[in-house]
Symmetry: C2
Subunit: 109 residues, 2 copies
């Protein structure tokens, strides 16, 4: 499919983007993209997001150096979620963990 | 962490849940959970979601037979996204594809 034209953005103009390590297949993080950050991601080959807390464009790795080189971008069946497969330059999480999903929830079954 | 008490739900009372195949590590789908569907998921060991379009609880596989047995539930650093690792009984996608992310977006880089 062609660029970001068919993407269904939510009422805030955002779409959730799952970031996955293209080599290990580990899920690293989930962040949100608006049309501009998706276009920047596609044109630059590095992930860009929209920070909902700071309300600004966010080039992943600008501060930390841990940029994410894009390997492929997939879109789901109803075009309201993206899957970005990347080569990460370092940990995805601000805590220093490789993935933001480093905590297991207690199971009751 | 303990059950769903620390989860940060959005203004609609929902949290996005990434579903990943625990064996292949393929990302299968993204859906949304409210507190009730998360508790049902944890207590039954099968994924339950909140359908935003139908505005109702949704036990994945009730209709299709393609239930998802929960292997582990992870929560991200800021507790606003879940990662559910599952053993799927069949395709995750209503199109019959194994994953909802079966389409690649055209890259411009």
């Amino acid at each position: 499919m062609n660029a970001s034209r068919e993407i269904k953005y939510d009422a805030s103009g955002l779409v959730p983007a799952i970031v996955q390590d293209a080599e290990t297949n580990e899920v690293l993080m989930l962040a949100y993209m608006n049309a501009e950050s998706l276009e920047l991601t596609l044109s630059s080959g590095e992930t860009h997001f929209w920070s909902r807390s700071r309300q600004e464009l966010w080039h992943k790795g600008t501060t930390s150096g841990n940029i994410q080189r894009v390997v492929e971008v997939k879109v789901d069946c109803d075009a309201d979620t993206l899957l970005i497969r990347v080569q990460p330059a370092g940990p995805a999480c601000h805590t220093g963990n490789q993935t933001c999903f480093y905590r297991e929830m207690k199971k009751t079954f």
